[in-house]
């Protein structure tokens, strides 16, 4: 075995080393003087030293900026003896995709003697560092024990066990009492007693015990993640009984609105709406919370990888054209010493998640055009990672396909390993401090290039009509993908045919593995040769692993042995409906009683600098938001390309003027008062962002993503019911149907001091079709002397507001929504904007009028004067601070040219609006109070600096 080490040539800049140095100082270890990161490659095989050196010279090391050493004992030459050296390698079974591409490159060199390649990183640290320092650097920065370990001297590569001898394993259920049943379920199946009994009784009727693979299949198919049993359960809330929350709220809106442009809703991997008659667009948002908590980079990367496959698996396959990401973390400045055992620091989670999503999305060539990052201490043990993707497909292919009896089951894409085993059932249980240990196998390193190759070749196969149906192999692996596909027909699968990353997997591991980058196709026998030829021509793995039958049974075989035989009826319809108790009562928070400040400048500064409001440019710039060439309205806008856009607009077909607007609404703070109004506000926010950029409500589709605590606890469930009811009421009022959704429950973290639940969090994602992208409007002020109008009604609604937050209060007067009034307002404004009368528009959300005015001014490099006395009120408000920072919904700030004043006011007739100020060239934001006295005056560049500083990493 040869060990080749590649490092930046001494004396040349080493960005990777420098950022490691910064990270080390960030965790409080100041006496590090220098850091260097080297790449290490272990080459195993019968290669000779000459070949190894050639590989180092021609392939692994850059001739100008890097040096390499081959064999052993040369490391001293590189950093001298005074450095502390740590080498970190991946754990056995964790496959680094780099190994495959390096193998290809070595074969291109004509060297065929290399059998296997392993990668590692070597960190050389200079400075007076104690053992304790080194340990915490390893724990906090260099090593994630879930996938990595520190290499001890002369470690041999441990390859995973390569032998598997078939033994059929059955699980004895028939003779188990309740206690025994729950023992079997615990930490493995996550099924409750009622469900376990039901399974036992089914097999009692059959007169045999289940095999392990049958039990795992049932556990996965019946998992919260796959079947959403809480949302489908019978819930008692006081007098009210809700039978199937999903059907009676979110899905009901869509049924009642009956929009003809909804092509496929709630039945496929994503919801599909009509775009221009010949094309359709689909949209899906997924969460990947639990894996991201354990291994942020890998967890988040596989999250974006998964939602992209949902799009690829929608209808007959869609092309991903836009990503949107929303993250919720604990604040980056969370004190280290308060960190519960088994929890990664939020800063590390933030950096890891950002990198994981960016590396995957960027490599796939999908622009990340929209997103948000929110912070709250209660996300400490359960960060939330929402990954969304929009896809484009021919309207004629928008319906889910149907296989025919005799069609072949084809597995395409990545090979199968032990990755993510029990990921789905894991996602359905609470995290504990042992999670890192028990969940080790449920995280993996994504392989974006395999997925990119898969996308490219599948879209070709789609257009040549080489398959009848497609679905993604995500949570639950083959078990879910094939099991769901075959519900109406039946299927026979030969598990030994599945291509493996390494030998040694049992038939059960093969069936439930959640290895990424895999898709399942139903292929007519007469098309399969063409399909295989096409895939091989682009170097994509494709294998026939079974056939669809007409038996309505799931038959699993391994080397000729029947290892699983379940009837589809029981698998898919057998799950007993859960019955849950819910309670909900309006919490009473302390009402603020602080006197109104005379000068509001400091408060505005604080709000602009708060984690939730401050600029996210550091994140945004590390995503490619230009690739595919369709970006019309980018996440950053204004005279210096650094103002916060309200929503994204993309032009999916480069020679058409039609566009798609994507926005998101989320505000967990309101949920601390009432999840109903949190949900209502989230919908209102998403819709106002669409209108703010020049869109309208005529063709808007919504997605819901509920992230909640443990729904088995009645108070958590009560809030969930309230939020779902608001989704029905408000979406119906705005006439905007839901087309798809997802939920992630059990987001709680057990600590010594009891269970921490995340704040109830609902993300509403919205997608609108825009007829002409040239009607787009940005939020930056355009010209001095233009008029500034506020549109909408301001109320004393500061409950859960940023302003109360900076004063240490939550309050109780949560912003409400009147969707009837709101629809009229947004329709009117939409028409005005289509007529080109509005030069800039910004919606009012966190921080209210104050933040919106500041952002418009500094994004345009101009100033603004505002008179609070002119603001239209829905109730009497006698405090300037409340007026400036109220977060009442359905409000906008717009810039109008003086010449258009009359026409604008005529067209706005019938809704609340008023001229409240004008754009100035003085570079100051000046606010005059109700009684005419100035209450805030600040240079916009100071406001901008306050807003940009916190996340300028």
């Amino acid at each position: 075995m040869f060990r080749i080490e590649v490092s930046v040539r001494a004396g040349l800049p080493d960005p990777r080393g420098n950022s490691l140095e910064t990270d080390i100082r960030d965790i409080g270890i100041m006496n590090v003087t220098r850091a260097r990161v080297s790449d290490v490659y272990f080459l195993e095989g019968d290669l000779n030293e000459g070949e190894a050196i050639r590989i180092g010279q021609e392939l692994l090391a850059d001739p100008l900026v890097e040096d390499f050493s081959c064999g052993e004992g040369l490391t001293a030459r590189i950093e001298g003896s005074d450095a502390h050296v740590v080498e970190v390698a991946y754990n056995p079974g964790v496959t680094d995709p780099v190994e495959e591409s390096i193998g290809k490159a070595i074969r291109d060199l004509g060297i065929t003697t290399v059998r296997s390649i392993k990668t590692a990183h070597k960190y050389s640290l200079w400075g007076d560092l104690s053992e304790e320092n080194l340990q915490s650097i390893c724990d906090k920065l260099l090593v994630n024990s879930v996938i990595q370990h520190v290499v001890t001297k002369r470690e041999e590569i441990i390859l995973p066990s390569t032998t598997y001898k078939f033994v059929l394993t059955t699980v004895d259920l028939l003779n188990l009492d309740d206690g025994g049943l729950m023992e079997v379920s615990k930490d493995r199946l996550w099924l409750n007693l009622k469900e376990m009994r039901h399974i036992r009784d089914y097999f009692t009727k059959l007169g045999r015990n289940p095999t392990d693979v049958e039990l795992e299949t049932l556990a996965q198919t019946w998992s919260e993640h796959c079947i959403h049993k809480t949302f489908k359960s019978k819930i008692k809330l006081g007098q009210l009984t809700v039978d199937n929350l999903l059907k009676s709220t979110v899905m009901r809106v869509t049924e009642e609105l009956k929009k003809p442009w909804c092509l496929s809703v709630f039945r496929d991997n994503a919801g599909v709406i009509d775009f221009d008659g010949s094309y359709a667009v689909c949209f899906k948002v997924e969460t990947h919370n639990h894996p991201s908590a354990v291994e942020p980079y890998g967890g988040a990367a596989t999250g974006i990888g998964g939602v992209i496959r949902d799009i690829l698996g929608t209808g007959l396959g869609a092309k991903p054209i836009l990503d949107t990401d929303v993250f919720c973390f604990a604040p980056p400045d969370f004190p280290d010493d308060k960190l519960p055992h088994g929890v990664l620091h939020p800063r590390r989670i933030f950096k890891g998640v950002r990198a994981g999503v960016a590396d995957y999305g960027n490599r796939l060539g999908i622009p990340t055009l929209n997103g948000a990052v929110l912070f709250d201490n209660r996300y400490l043990g359960n960060p939330l990672v929402f990954c969304g993707t929009v896809g484009l497909l021919p309207a004629s292919m928008s319906q889910r396909g149907e296989q025919q009896t005799g069609d072949l089951v084809v597995l395409a894409g990545g090979k199968t390993g032990r990755d993510g085993i029990h990921g789905v059932t894991f996602a359905s249980g609470e995290l504990t401090k042992e999670s890192e240990a028990v969940s080790a196998s449920s995280v993996q390193i994504g392989d974006p290039i395999t997925e990119k190759k898969l996308i490219d070749v599948l879209l070709k196969a789609r257009d040549r009509q080489l398959y009848r149906r497609i679905t993604d192999c995500g949570g639950g692996g083959l078990s879910s993908a094939v099991g769901e596909m075959a519900e109406e027909t039946g299927v026979r699968v030969y598990l030994e045919r599945v291509p493996l990353k390494y030998l040694g997997l049992s038939y059960t591991e093969i069936w439930i593995s959640e290895s990424q980058e895999r898709m399942v196709l139903a292929v007519p026998p007469d098309a399969v040769d063409q399909l295989i030829f096409l895939f091989e021509s682009e170097g994509v793995e494709v294998t026939v692993i079974g056939e669809f039958t007409d038996t309505r049974r799931l038959e699993l075989l391994y080397e000729g042995n029947l290892v699983g035989d379940l009837d589809m009826e029981f698998l898919h319809k057998g799950l007993p409906q859960r019955e849950n108790e819910a309670v909900w009562e309006l919490p009473q928070h302390a009402e603020p009683d602080f006197p109104p400040p005379i000068d509001l400048r400091e408060d505005l500064m604080h709000i602009l600098a708060s984690w939730n409001v401050c600029s996210k440019e550091w994140v945004i710039r590390q995503y490619d938001h230009e690739v595919q060439g369709g970006s019309v309205l980018k996440p950053l806008t204004g005279v210096n390309n650094d103002g916060p856009s309200d929503a994204a607009i993309v032009r999916p077909i480069l020679d058409s003027d039609m566009g798609i607007v994507v926005a998101n609404g989320i505000n967990p703070k309101y949920g601390d008062i009432d999840p109903y109004w949190m949900a209502a506000s989230a919908i209102d926010e998403a819709l106002r962002q669409i209108v703010a950029v020049g869109g309208n409500l005529q063709r808007v589709a919504l997605l819901d993503n509920f992230c909640w605590g443990n729904p088995d606890k009645p108070d958590r469930l009560g809030g969930l019911v309230r939020a779902a009811q608001a989704c029905y009421d408000i979406a119906l009022g705005y006439e905007t149907p839901f087309i798809s959704g997802k939920d992630s429950l059990y987001n709680e973290f057990e600590t010594e001091k009891g269970s921490i639940s995340i704040p109830p969090t609902l993300l509403i994602s919205a997608m609108a079709v825009m007829n002409n992208i040239e009607h787009a409007v940005t939020m930056d002020c355009k010209r001095e002397d233009d008029l500034v109008y506020i549109i909408g009604t301001t109320l004393n609604e500061l409950g859960g507001s940023q302003y109360y937050g900076v004063h240490g209060y939550v309050g109780n007067r949560v912003p409400k929504v009147d969707s009837k009034k709101g629809k009229k307002l947004m329709d009117t404004l939409g028409t005005v904007m289509e007529n080109g009368l509005v030069k800039a528009c910004h919606d009012l959300s966190e921080g209210g009028l104050g933040v919106a005015a500041a952002e418009m001014a500094f994004a345009g490099g101009l100033g603004m004067v505002i008179h609070l006395g002119q603001v239209p009120l829905g109730e009497s408000i006698n405090r300037d601070d409340y007026l400036l920072f109220s977060e009442s919904n359905t409000r906008f700030l717009v810039e109008i040219a003086p010449k258009d004043r009359q026409q604008f006011e005529n067209m706005m007739a019938g809704v609340d609006f008023a001229a409240i100020g004008k754009v100035t060239d003085k570079g100051r934001l000046e606010v005059y109070g109700i009684n005419g006295a100035i209450v805030l005056s600040a240079p916009v560049n100071e406001l901008k600096e306050a807003w940009q500083r916190p996340l300028r990493w």
Binding site: P13, P15, R16, S19, E58, L59, L60, D62, P63, L64, V65, P97, V98, S101, I102, K104, A105, D108, L109, G110, A358, N362, R363, L364, G365, P448, I449, K452, K453, S537, E538, G539, R621, Q622, Y623, D624, H625, E626, V627, Q628, G629, S631, V632, L633, K634, L636, T637, G638, V639, N641, R651, L654, D655, I773, E774, A776, T778, D780, K782, G860
Partner: protein, 257 residues
């Protein structure tokens, strides 16, 4: 009427700017075909059918080892002769972003006296980060570059983590620099973020001595239409984006082949 100029847009695993690059060529009247590198290696298609070869942006083979390295290795070992003939026949090669990285690491650009030498490389950004931002470019009026003829100051997006041009001592003098990073006034000494990656002498794009092989880090195909400009909502309407001219120059010149 004359037959259309044909551009081959090379695809490899991880290429991701192929579609918009083909679109740009179609906008200037060329025919653009997406061809997988395997089709060339297995002689299912031949370079000789085309006047222009383009290596578009992306993360070929994941940019594993280093950006564009594995594709470069493939070009150098599997397609060297075909590419040499293509160049000797007086045809055009354009490398954008990942294509620039691949051409350089394959030793195709800049041309060098001995076969395997690589006098220039593209290293990680000084910022240590992948960055997506719009930057100003000043064209070198004295450059023989076919693609940048008549271009003065341009505004285009970059999106890369490895874009820093590094050269061996002595190479700078004889290097044909076609594009420099600049500020809005055209000052080519401007530094970060104007020079987004720390390239020596603000080098953003280079060509060979004939001006027919040209490669750049920024993405001209991402600024063809005026609404692609990050500030189009506050600026006067214009007929084309700054990148348009690069493709037009190439196709106009290729008509003469």
């Amino acid at each position: 009427m004359a037959t259309k100029v044909k551009a081959l847009i090379l695809r490899a695993p991880g290429t991701n700017c192929d579609v918009e690059t083909a679109f740009a060529f179609k906008q200037v009247g060329a025919q653009a075909d997406l061809v997988h590198v395997g089709e060339l290696i297995n002689h299912l298609t031949s370079l000789s059918n085309y006047q222009i070869m383009v290596i578009p942006g992306g993360f070929t083979y994941g940019d594993d080892i280093s950006a564009g390295k594995i594709l470069a290795n493939e070009l150098r070992l599997k397609l060297r002769d075909e590419i040499k003939t293509f160049v000797d026949d007086g045809r055009l090669i354009l490398g954008i972003c990942n294509g620039f990285q691949a051409l350089v690491k394959a030793g195709i650009l800049p041309e060098s006296r001995n076969e395997n030498a690589q006098p220039l490389t593209i290293a990680g950004n000084d910022s240590g980060k992948f960055e997506c931002r719009w930057i100003y470019l000043q064209a070198n009026k004295t450059s023989p570059c076919v693609f940048t003829k008549g271009i003065d100051l341009m505004y285009l997006p970059v999106a890369h983590g490895e874009g820093k041009v590094v050269v061996e001592p002595g190479v700078l003098e004889e290097l044909n620099v076609a594009l420099h990073y600049a500020d809005e006034t055209g000052n080519i000494q401007a530094d970060y973020p104007y020079n987004p990656n720390g390239s020596v002498n603000n080098i953003a794009g280079i060509c060979d001595s004939t001006g027919r092989i040209f490669a750049l880090m920024p993405h001209p195909e991402r600024f063809i239409h005026w609404t692609q400009h990050p500030r189009w909502t506050r600026e006067p309407r214009r007929d084309y984006g700054d990148g348009f001219r690069i493709f037009l120059n190439a196709v106009e010149w290729a008509k003469g082949i």
